[in-house]
Symmetry: none
Subunit: 414 residues, 2 copies
């Protein structure tokens, strides 16, 4: 089954909002074997919306429209779609009542044009809207399935989950299962090289993607039954593990911070952070996780030499002789932070996030990451290309990767 999504709203074309609806719907459809081949955003403009429908009916079996169901004059999706498919708009009594209800409950005054929200193309199955006043609908015409949904995600998501997803699930013969393998420490093209032979496979497919310093490989298998699909994925996953090895840190929704949180918690270990150029980003990422207080209690943000000396007791000689961006400073930061916080692990980050402050010897992107555990100390010297935000993020990820590797007894300084 080929499908496409047409999102209607001039605010999309003006760049005032991001289209999260298309993402949400596509992700759900991918799990039931319905291919989304195109996502189109068009304005609240009947002529151009008709052009999109003209194109869509030629290439897709299922056309999902979002947006333009509001009460205002420029909300014309239903009217336009009905006209395109040559169907009259019929009033749905239940919808009319529930809209009237909605206004009574919220004691807001109902305007005449709210009634048009109760009109639907003839033969539609009505999709109730529990959140707002704009019901959706599904109808079939010329063997095409047309689905019309409201624009606000808070209204679209429950309507899609409760009515559209089950409806489409019944129609799909194939099951699609996918799994994401998460990789840190090697670049996308390197990963590509390593799994080259797998990338040409058509079922399961293996798709690489890089975002925020993490390379992911998404394995997607299509089959008649779930178990077979999962077996297909397991086989490919094995092959990937064979070549990528311990650069793989997690799968699916596991973030690096979530992975180290679990590793530490399972072992009753605690962590403290001593951050210079990341300025609290690492502790922020760790504490994004509910329950992180079990493994994280102290964080030191030492953004100046004075703070490194006063908060962490980094010696003035070290700072003068080697500078703040050095193995020596990274070591004293990590070791002393661990002592002060009485934690199992002390991790430190000191470097030049830029855009200014770089020198010939110490360029922007140079970051030292230190890890202290008992009497052991490890340091990773990294040179990250890119903007300040990226340099900071990659540094925080490196710090967590070092912890992960130490706990799992893997090679740490790369």
């Amino acid at each position: 089954m080929k499908s496409e999504i047409i999102s209607v709203g001039t605010e999309l074309l003006l760049g005032q909002i991001v289209n999260t609806n298309a993402k949400y719907i596509s992700l759900k459809l991918s799990t039931i074997g319905i291919d989304v081949f195109f996502q189109t955003n068009v304005g609240d403009n009947p002529k151009r919306l008709k052009e999109c429908l003209e194109i869509a009916v030629k290439r897709s079996d299922i056309i999902i429209l979002t947006g333009g169901l509001g009460p205002t004059m420029d909300d014309l999706t239903k009217e336009t779609v009905a006209e395109f498919f040559d169907l009259p708009l019929i009033e749905d009594t239940d919808s009319k009542l529930s809209i009237e209800n909605y206004f009574n409950k919220s004691n807001r005054k109902m305007t005449a044009n709210n009634y048009k929200q109760a009109l639907f193309p003839e033969g539609s199955k009505i999709l109730p809207n529990e959140i707002g006043t704009a019901p959706g609908c599904i109808f079939k015409k010329n063997s095409k399935i047309i689905i019309i949904l409201p624009g606000p995600p808070s209204e679209l998501i429950p309507m899609f989950d409760n009515y559209v997803y089950p409806y489409l699930k019944n129609m799909s013969d194939k099951i699609i299962v996918s799994k994401v393998i998460k990789i840190f420490g090697i670049g996308e093209s390197k990963v590509e090289d390593m799994v080259n032979d797998l990338l040409i496979s058509s079922n399961p497919t293996v798709a690489p993607l890089i975002s925020d310093g993490i390379v992911t490989l998404r394995i997607t298998a299509k089959s008649d039954n779930k178990e077979e699909a999962e077996n297909m994925i397991a086989k490919i996953e094995e092959k990937i593990k064979d070549v990528i090895g311990d650069y793989i840190f997690g799968s699916d929704d596991e973030t690096m911070e979530y992975v180290i949180f679990n590793l530490l918690r399972e072992r009753n270990l605690t962590l403290t952070t001593a951050e210079s150029c990341t300025g609290g980003l690492l502790s922020k990422m760790i504490t994004d996780i509910p329950g992180s207080s079990e493994i994280f209690k102290y964080g030191f943000v030492t953004y100046s030499n004075e703070a490194k000396h006063k908060m962490l007791g980094v010696s003035k000689q070290t700072l003068e002789k080697y500078g703040a961006v050095s193995i020596e400073t990274a070591k004293e930061m990590a070791v002393n932070a661990k002592e002060i916080a009485n934690a199992d692990y002390g991790v430190s980050i000191t470097g030049i996030a830029g855009p200014d402050g770089g020198t010939e010897k110490k360029p922007v992107g140079l970051v030292y990451i230190g890890l202290s555990y008992n009497n052991e100390f490890y340091v990773r010297k990294t040179l990250t290309m890119g903007v300040r935000q990226r340099i900071r993020l990659i540094s925080a990820l490196n710090a967590m990767d070092m912890i992960r590797r130490h706990i799992l007894k893997l090679k740490i300084d790369l």
Copy 2:
């Protein structure tokens, strides 16, 4: 000038990522009077990409493609576009060198398939990529302008701003000027109520939008000359200021952190942070700003009572009697942090970010934010609805809002 954006990437159709590139480009184009009538997302599939190009050349003067410039086998945008427009791919020597440079600098091994990133449709103007290895390009064919940009926003945004935006600006006749007013401290619907009469204006238009706890009002004026458009905006802005007043903290690209950074720097004032439930988010946001070391030197992440006592000297009695989430703890955190860091301002955040840890008396979302300056102390008691991430973000914004209000001598505890 009619334009459209074609974003290439199967990850978009699988719903793995949201298309923020189309939003960004559209927003920028709207400011120079170039209409974006369609945004299309298509997979890394030459056949379907060609279908999109077939449609695009019929209806648009400018076609902007994003994504699919990576080194991997499934990155085929340039190849497909070149074939569609019947142009050979030519190697660009400078691009080749800078790609080689990139790999040398980051001492990563360059793979053969990286070289294809230096190939461009014949006659292209090359758009350098300062962040990654994928340059973009612009070329004209049959009176159409074709622009090809990389997919990662961190690479696309600087390339668009530095090369594409100025290029297109020169071609546009109409002038559209827009200004964004940024508001913190009142909800979107409240703001809408307050500026209700302005929202129906058609030129300038006023569009409200909420994101990450910040309400924005975008004023957009269309005119033949810049000055007139700016005057139209100024008039509306005055009206907005009259009703919204000091809830307005900035405009356009100014973030809250950028605003307080400037307020502090202009006055040679410094700030230190003492964070519990935000776990470093506030110091992270402040240090996102290049040069923040001028105003920020120390940050304390005291995620446990022990840390509050040991790092900041919050008295055990206070913690026992009032608890960590209390005015009293917030006060000792802010005051002591300021003393230890010898800063002008000490700001503290302590609360319950959830999802667990809430009680009848102290529910999830309850956060105390303290501000210490000389012998003055202010506290804001907030109760934020929503998920952990939102509660943490709103708390950090409140802390910065309090600093802004103190510096500007505005009412602080709301």
